[in-house]
């Protein structure tokens, strides 16, 4: 491939590529994102290729591994074009049917379609599935259309037009202005206005400047950035090159964690392809603008997602934050002006350039524009990646897109922003997704982690979990963060194990104040958020743990006991056989009793007791009723009375 020397050459190659593609030609797209690969997508793709060859259809049908479309709950996801038929949880053994029925006879296979859990209606097309229908997929929507390993696929859908536009029709100042006008705010969590950041770096004195993609995604349960970098690496690259042109940088870095091998592979390949096409390197598209990108793999420290720690790590030093000011826009990598943006922020840039700042900012709220990708996980029916317009309520995300809470349970809270975020209860479910609104209710937008919790979740234990995560992930340099987190963890562990003391809540509040105000970096400053937000909304549950040694959610192991109601027990021996601790005493026609000394509280008996009996109960905060005297335990099962 000769390097493209002009924007016209780019357009002509795009036309040439598009002309070779027939939009009516059948194409089997299989999600090849990490989630679906783990669920067996690799085998499914291989099976399709083999079957198509076996049936002699190579000339008529394409098979392609694509980026992640987001419906990870039902992976591997297969979409068949041009009809856009969407099959879920496809296994290699389904492949023969799909090829012979759907591809050859144009028949839809019912058993692989999405079934609405309430209406039982089946959805044939991807866009008919409520999970997708209620989203606004401007960024992640392209993932299923392209093979992330093919720059040609990206070019066909209009890739690198924004780059050509800025290089030949806009000055760097105009680009900065356009991004400023769009009101794009950083998607990494803090929501700093991107245009203002770019302007700062552009105006900072110095000839050498850098741009960096922060792909050090570390929140537990969050994988938005991974899906973008894996599924559409060129969109991130294009945004980065545009940003480099705008601030005057000629070198860029992609800081991505080592645990994302597929993201590393795909983005490395994308860089190579872009260089071959002349979209990276010297004299890009004949514009005289030079820019090169290096992929740097992070070793997986959560704190390196914090921008100054990331810079330290890039410089080869220990990943610990440094003091701001000076800010990276004036003194960043190796002391040079540096713009660091999150993956999703960069991916928004080509959209703004192509569609214009006004179109971009027409979506969203007063203070937050555009869309936001969340990874919706936890106790919700449709887990996966969702992209929604800013301003949508949390209720709509969880109940319309997410399909509500499984098993008929009640919603309790949603944690946004991971370990730096907060728990939002039912009363605030109508809060719109907006940087400032979420902060107002005690959470943060964060990078996009969204964990849904049902009535069985203990908020004190949730706070303990996140603080425990941070005991490992704090760098440990400054006292308020290291010691504050250590002591908060000690206190929360004591409370959840029934050793909470009078004054613990006050101690937590003191620690939270100091950690949030005096810590060196954003990790420490936001670390108490899970504690503060759960204290704010679930203080009664903290008090129940401390004063009554009771866990209202019946979740904290040390505070609950399993008990078999003798009135309900049918002596069916299911729980007795399943108990791995041998803690259930009983036998045929002998009412079962839990030996509390042997019980490990694994909950198996509770789960296996047939619902029509419902004899196993969880109790907390009250003494376990004394077992029936052995002589009274004999029972005759109803089914046996006729004998």
């Amino acid at each position: 491939m000769p390097r493209l020397q002009s924007p016209e050459a780019l357009e002509s190659i795009r036309k040439e590529l598009a002309s070779k593609r027939d939009s009516q030609r059948p194409c089997i797209s299989v999600c090849a994102g990490t989630g679906c690969i783990a669920a067996g997508a690799g085998e499914v793709i291989a099976a399709f290729k083999a079957e198509i060859e076996k049936q002699g259809l190579q000339a008529d049908v394409d098979t392609k591994g694509t980026g992640c479309p987001g419906f990870c709950e039902r992976g591997p996801v297969v979409v068949i074009y041009p009809e856009e038929i969407c099959y879920l949880q496809v296994k290699p053994q389904d492949v023969v049917d799909i090829v012979s029925q759907t591809i050859k006879e144009k028949k839809v296979i019912d058993r692989l379609l999405y079934v609405d859990p309430t209406t039982k209606a089946k959805a044939v097309r991807e866009s008919d599935i409520p999970f997708y229908r209620n989203q606004r997929r401007t960024i992640i929507g392209n993932n299923i259309k392209i093979d992330p390993k093919s720059i040609e696929d990206y070019l066909v859908i209009g890739g690198y037009t924004a780059l050509a536009k800025v290089l030949f029709a806009m000055t760097p100042e105009q680009v900065v202005e356009e991004v400023k006008t769009s009101d794009l705010r950083g998607r990494g969590g803090a929501g700093f206005p991107t245009g203002k950041k770019w302007e700062g770096a552009r105006n900072a004195p110095g000839d050498t400047k850098y741009v960096i993609v922060n792909a050090d995604e570390g929140d537990p349960g969050a994988f938005m950035d991974r899906a973008l970098l894996e599924g559409n690496p060129h969109s991130v690259l294009e945004g980065l090159i545009i940003g480099a042109y705008a601030i005057g940088a000629h070198e860029g870095y992609i800081y991505v964690r080592q645990e994302y091998p597929l993201a590393v592979e795909n983005v490395t390949l994308a860089i190579k392809q872009a260089e071959e096409y002349g979209l990276l390197g010297k004299d890009i598209l004949g514009s005289n603008f030079d820019f090169s990108v290096t992929v740097h793999r992070g070793a997986g420290a959560f704190v390196c997602g914090e921008e100054t720690s990331l810079l330290m790590s890039l410089e080869g030093k220990v990943g610990e934050p440094r003091t701001r000011p000076p800010y990276p826009v004036t003194k960043g990598l190796w002391g040079k002006p540096t713009t660091i943006n999150n993956v999703e922020t960069w991916a928004n840039v080509p959209l703004i350039i192509n569609g214009g700042a006004e179109a971009f900012s027409s979506v969203g709220t007063e203070g937050s524009k555009g869309t936001k990708i969340f990874s919706l996980v936890g106790k919700v029916n449709n887990t996966g990646l969702v992209e929604v317009p800013m301003g949508i309520t949390l209720r709509d995300i969880i109940f319309e897109v997410g399909g509500g809470i499984p098993g008929g349970k009640k919603f309790k809270a949603v944690q946004t922003g991971g370990p730096s975020g907060g728990c939002i209860p039912e009363a605030h479910l109508d809060t719109p997704v907006d940087f400032d609104e979420l902060t107002r209710v005690g959470a943060i937008m964060g990078s996009g982690g969204m964990i849904v919790m049902d009535e069985d979740t203990c908020p004190v234990d949730v706070a303990r979990y996140f603080v425990e995560f941070l005991t490992d992930e704090s760098c440990g340099k400054c006292v308020p963060c290291r010691e504050g987190i250590r002591q908060m963890h000690t206190i929360l562990t004591a409370i959840t194990t029934g050793k909470g003391k009078e004054g613990d809540i006050q101690r937590l509040e003191h620690l939270a104040e100091v950690t949030s105000t005096a810590s060196l970096c954003a990790l420490g400053k936001s670390a108490p958020n899970p504690v503060l937000s759960t204290l704010r909304y679930f203080r009664d549950e903290y008090e129940a743990h401390i004063k009554e040694k009771r866990c209202p959610a019946l979740s904290c192991k040390e505070l609950i006991a399993y008990h078999i109601d003798p009135e309900k027990c049918q002596a069916c021996m299911i729980c007795l056989r399943k108990c791995s601790a041998g803690a259930i005493v009983g036998g045929k026609n002998q009412i079962h009793v839990v030996d509390q000394d042997k019980c490990t509280k694994c909950g198996t008996c509770f789960e296996v007791c047939p619902p029509r009996f419902g004899a196993v109960q969880k109790i907390s905060g009250e003494p376990v009723p004394a077992p029936l005297p052995e002589a009274e335990r004999t029972t005759v099962r109803k089914a046996n009375t006729n004998e």
Partner: protein
């Protein structure tokens, strides 16, 4: 280097560009408590006890004075109820590690800190990093360093370097506010310096 005019605790202070708020305050005779600060070493900003309120054009923030650069027009307050509360908690958190440290006891008295308010911790290192930074910046030996991160972070001598460099230096010893360093050294000494073999006493 031009002069910069700022205000600390209501007093007009002149500082040179590149100075920190702490340096400017000290030059003007205003006392701000410190633990990890040492005039021979690069400012570190870890103990946070030197926290002050910095007001720049009405935007107030709490900053560590040992690392915060002076700016023209900056208004600094070195004490307030909140600052007092933060310092008190910091001292209490450190006393959970090193209740016998003389330096911490003096600060505890000043801020009314209760050494038993938080649960006692096993290690008495307070991670001021004075030993590590002294060895790196002044002696350039790197014989002692930090290992691990988060709440597991500790200082440790590098055995083979310590065996060569430390026995006739020990200049970092007096810097340690808790004597944890000496304990760590005893351990590394036992590990690295060959000891005479034990002799079984006659008759046993």
């Amino acid at each position: 280097m031009s002069d910069i005019l700022l205000q600390i605790d209501g007093k007009e202070v002149t500082a040179r560009e590149g100075m920190t708020v702490l340096e400017a305050a000290r030059a003007a005779g205003i006392v701000i408590p410190t633990l990890c600060y040492h005039e021979k070493l690069e400012p570190y900003g870890a103990c946070r006890i030197c926290i002050v309120e910095a007001d720049m054009n009405g935007r107030k923030s709490l900053v560590a004075s040992c690392v915060h650069p002076v700016e023209a027009g900056l208004i600094v307050r070195t004490t307030s109820e909140q600052i007092h509360r933060i310092r008190k908690t910091i001292v209490e958190l450190l006393l959970a590690h090193a209740p016998d440290s003389v330096q911490l006891q003096a600060l505890a008295q000043q801020y009314g800190a209760d050494k038993d308010y938080y649960e006692k911790q096993a290690s008495f290192c307070i991670h001021c990093g004075l030993c590590v930074r002294y060895c790196t910046e002044i002696k350039k030996k790197n014989a002692v360093g930090f290992v691990d991160r988060g709440t597991r972070r500790e200082i440790n001598f590098v055995p083979h370097l310590a065996a060569q460099e430390c026995w006739n230096c020990k200049e970092c010893f007096p810097l340690c506010p808790t004597s944890y360093l000496q304990a760590a050294y005893v351990l590394v000494e036992a590990l690295t310096i060959p000891q005479p073999p034990f002799k079984v006493a006659a008759g046993r």
